[in-house]
């Protein structure tokens, strides 16, 4: 637990978490309360990640309503172990699956929440912690430290970790192996697209405001859907080039540019959240994954 959170604050946090678990307050209220107690958005997230609460944080009400179960799992990638957040629908039988690839801040509460939302929609969702090679997101003292550690990760190593995640999911008893897709946000967006160039069995790839592979379009088998923000010059500006490459390679590529939205518009814990754009992108993503 961070030293900056004192005893009184801990009591406040425990009460808040209990109230959330019992369904008395919503997730947003929980985060708002944690920010108030810890003093900042960063400190609240740091507390959630380092306390171990985040991995199991789901209220009884939400869990029951969504009919999902969540757990932390590990899978091998070569010689190392990758930690992941696995959420499953409570319904029996095999389900389509999604690998949820985080932003450049690691596997945080926002990405876990997205994974839960996918599970609530009937998908088995795996959120790999791609900082596992650097000790894991929970070991990072701040968001900035997580971002810096992500910047030092080996490009190919991370792609190997994602491929290993795909293999883990393809052997999972609850997963339909022919219907495993990837969805990546920002830093994870490029990796979602890259998985499509290297894993021919991938069902679908979704890119939220991520850059595009420099090459390898001829290897893509999965249809790709991309969501771009109007005010995200460098990334959205390359949508034309990407679309041309996909067309030349004879691949299926659909992309949308969301007006008056910024990079990270889907992240409802961040300052650039655009609710209407996020809602529309979510609907389109679900339709695409189910198609």
């Amino acid at each position: 637990m961070p030293e900056s959170v004192g005893t009184d604050a801990n009591l406040g946090i425990q009460e808040t978490v209990d109230r959330y678990r019992k369904g008395i307050i919503t997730r947003r209220d929980l985060l708002r309360s944690l920010i108030a107690v810890t003093g900042s958005y960063t400190a609240a997230h740091l507390f959630l990640e380092t306390s171990g609460l985040a991995a199991t944080l789901i209220s009884q009400v939400e869990s029951a309503a969504a009919k999902v179960t969540a757990e932390t799992i590990r899978y091998p990638s070569g010689d190392i172990q990758i930690e992941g957040y696995l959420v499953k629908p409570k319904s029996s039988g095999k389900h389509p699956a999604v690998i949820v690839i985080h932003e450049n801040r690691g596997l945080n509460e926002h990405i876990r929440d997205v994974a839960r939302r996918f599970a609530a929609e009937g998908f088995v969702a795996l959120g790999p912690d791609l900082l596992s090679r650097a000790g894991g997101t929970a070991k990072m003292k701040s968001e900035r430290e997580a971002t810096e550690a992500i910047g030092r990760l080996p490009l190919t190593g991370v792609l190997d970790d994602l491929k290993a995640g795909f293999e883990y999911m393809s052997k999972h008893p609850d997963v339909e192996p022919q219907r495993i897709s990837s969805v990546g946000f920002c830093w994870g967006g490029w990796r979602s697209f890259m998985v499509a160039t290297t894993v021919p069995q991938l069902h679908r790839a979704v890119v939220f405001y991520g850059s595009s592979p420099p090459a390898g379009y001829e290897n893509i088998q999965a249809p790709v859907l991309a969501h771009y923000a109007q005010w995200d010059y460098q990334i959205t500006g390359n949508s034309l080039w990407t679309s041309d490459r996909m067309k030349q390679a004879g691949k299926k590529f659909t992309y949308y540019v969301y007006p008056e939205s910024e990079h990270a518009f889907f992240n409802d814990t961040g300052p650039r959240h655009n609710p209407s754009a996020a809602k529309l992108a979510w609907t389109r993503t679900l339709e695409f994954l189910r198609s």
């Binding site: 900042s40 990796r191 595009s212 460098q234 500006g237 034309l240 080039w241």
Partner: protein
């Protein structure tokens, strides 16, 4: 006291002359250096840069030859000097001299002709030399200009020759490398317009600067003459921010070496002069030693001041401004830095979390309030209450698109929305925000193909990569007396005058050929508008009454200036420009014909 100090200063002889009239050389306790410059065939050469640097000193003084080929330095400190003469088309020619004050030293130069003088050319001379004989050559020249001369000067690119595959590999790097040279990454989105035009540019550049014959016909500009050849330029070494004990070695001093790489060091971004004549420099390079630095023009000494940042690094700066109380304000890693130029006490103010972070340009209103650029507009900081107020652009868009700021005579803070061809105007008294729209660049319509139009409409412009009709208001200055704002239109290659009251815009296109790069403006006490020309190794003066442009030379190649300041304490004013690429701080002083004649 100030005058007395300057009188006996080591390098400020010209100021003493201009303030006090002419003094005998013995009174200045300094030495005279003069001579003539001729071509190898014995023809007198006008406008040749003659530079002198004493052993053990960290500054170089440069003068230019007159119509008879004669040069005359202001009084110089005694010492052993290296002296060199430079002009485009001639080899750099060198001499040495011991100056001991006992007699006038003379050094005569005969300059051999240089056949391939391409490395001596400024960026704008390169652009002027690219052919416009066909519509396609005009179009690709325009695309090159708008995409390859913002992060660096065009001569940095064109001094090299590669085949088509080589140019393509260069652009592969350029489309993903940052302006500070941070390594390219496969997962970083490339600069979209550069990527779109990569193939066409590689073919074009191989045609212009490939292994085979080139259609380029070099058109060197005429050398300085008359008034512009009477300047004295003192260039101070700015120690490397990577290693502040070391000066930069490849610094553009020898034009035959071409434009220097910025990898050795860069960081001298903005600089302002305080009431005691010290120059305060904002350092934009990631480094462990300094956020700002102070240059003593009398000795060349550079002293570093640091706000501790993260990871052992100093906080980074970019812009600096000094108020009437001698407080220097600068940006520092998203906050506002403050240093008392007298006591050297340094502080930092963090904008509240709900507001935008402090950006890289600053100005002051007449009450001492600070205007600071942000990604989304500007911040007002009131030094009396330490309170920030956020001003957001009416036209929203991608973050990071505000560049320069200036405060007009009625306490309105103006900020340049460089990629939207708009200026935001925030009234510091009432909080009201308005907007001034600029017209697009005309005369390029016939160059834009249907494909270009589609690309432009989808991608748009960024600071250093733009559509062909982008004006790009970059930095600006204000004349508070006349309530006029003067805007440097980067891609538009012009100066805009905006009436602070009516918001009427008047455009003054740069009158010369090429692409000098009008980057920043500052207005002196006489109402003259001064501009640094990033691609031209020159500064320009615009007289609003006569609408005449006058351009003064800088004796370094690849200066890549990004800021200009005037020291209004002197008469005539002195002009200061930091060289971002060549990593020096330069002062320009002005001599009249009568002063020069009397000196001889």
């Amino acid at each position: 006291m100030l005058i007395k100090k300057r009188l006996f200063g080591l390098v400020a002889g010209v100021v003493a002359v201009s303030l006090l009239g002419f003094l005998p050389r013995s009174a200045a306790a300094a030495s005279a250096l003069q001579g003539t410059v001729q071509s190898a065939s014995g023809q007198s050469l006008e406008g040749v840069a003659v530079s002198a640097r004493a052993n053990g000193k960290t500054y170089t003084t440069t003068v230019y030859t007159d119509s008879l080929g004669a040069y005359d330095f202001p009084p110089l400190d005694n010492g052993h000097y290296r002296i060199w003469a430079q002009a485009v088309g001639f080899e750099t020619t060198r001499a040495e001299a011991d100056l001991d004050g006992s007699q006038t030293a003379r050094r005569e130069f005969r300059m051999p002709t240089l056949q391939d003088f391409s490395k001596q050319l400024t960026g704008t001379e390169w652009i002027a030399s690219l052919p416009e004989d066909t519509k396609e050559n005009r179009r690709l020249k325009a695309i090159f200009r708008s995409n390859c001369s913002g992060c660096h000067t065009p001569n940095f690119v064109l001094q090299n020759r590669f085949d088509e595959a080589g140019w393509r590999k260069v652009i592969d790097v350029m489309e993903t490398v940052g302006i500070y040279g941070d390594p390219p990454r496969l997962d970083r989105a490339p600069v979209p317009l550069v990527r779109q035009y990569k193939e066409e540019l590689a073919v074009y550049l191989a045609k212009m600067r490939g292994p085979g014959p080139s259609p380029i016909k070099f058109q060197p500009y005429s050398r300085p003459r008359g008034e512009t050849a009477r300047v004295v330029v003192t260039e101070y070494d700015y120690t490397s921010s990577a290693n502040p004990s070391e000066p930069v070695t490849h610094d553009g001093s020898d034009w035959m070496e071409g434009v220097p790489s910025a990898y050795e060091a860069r960081g001298s971004h903005d600089a302002e002069v305080d009431q005691n004549g010290f120059v305060w420099i904002a350092d934009s390079q990631a480094n462990s030693a300094r956020t700002v630095a102070r240059l003593d023009p009398k000795t060349g000494e550079v002293k570093n001041f640091k706000l501790q940042g993260e990871g052992g690094l100093a906080m980074r700066s970019h812009g600096i401004v000094i108020d009437s109380k001698g407080i220097a304000w600068f940006n520092a890693s998203g906050g506002l830095g403050k240093i008392d130029t007298k006591t050297e006490k340094i502080e930092r103010f963090e904008p509240p979390q709900e507001m935008a972070r402090a950006g890289g340009t600053l100005d002051l209103d007449s009450n001492g309030n600070v205007c600071i650029s942000t990604n989304e507009g500007a911040l007002k900081f009131d030094p009396a209450t330490n309170k920030f107020t956020d001003f957001k652009s009416k036209t929203r868009g991608s973050p990071g698109r505000t560049y320069g700021v200036a405060v007009d005579g009625a306490s309105n803070c103006w900020w340049a929305q460089m990629n939207f061809d708009k200026l935001g105007v925030g009234n510091f008294r009432t909080g009201e925000i308005t907007e001034v729209a600029l017209r697009p660049v005309s005369g390029v319509e016939d160059l834009i193909t249907e494909r270009d139009r589609r690309i432009f409409s989808i991608i748009g412009s960024d600071w250093n990569s733009a559509t062909l009709d982008q004006q790009a208001p970059r930095r600006l200055g204000s004349d508070k007396k006349t309530n006029t704002v003067w805007v440097a239109m980067w891609w538009g290659n012009s100066l805009a005058k905006i009436d602070g009251r009516t918001h009427k815009v008047t455009y003054y296109p740069h009158p010369g050929p090429g692409f000098p790069g009008v980057y920043d403006t500052t207005i002196d006490k006489n109402g003259m508008v001064w501009m640094n020309l990033m691609n031209d190794d020159r500064v320009a003066k615009f007289d609003p009454k006569t609408e005449k442009w006058t351009e003064y030379p800088l004796p370094t190649r690849g200066t890549e200036t990004r800021f200009i300041a005037v020291d209004n304490r002197t008469d005539p004013v002195e002009v200061w420009v930091p060289y971002w690429r060549a990593h020096k701080i330069a002062r320009i002083q002005f001599r009249t014909a009568e002063q020069l004649k009397a000196q001889r």
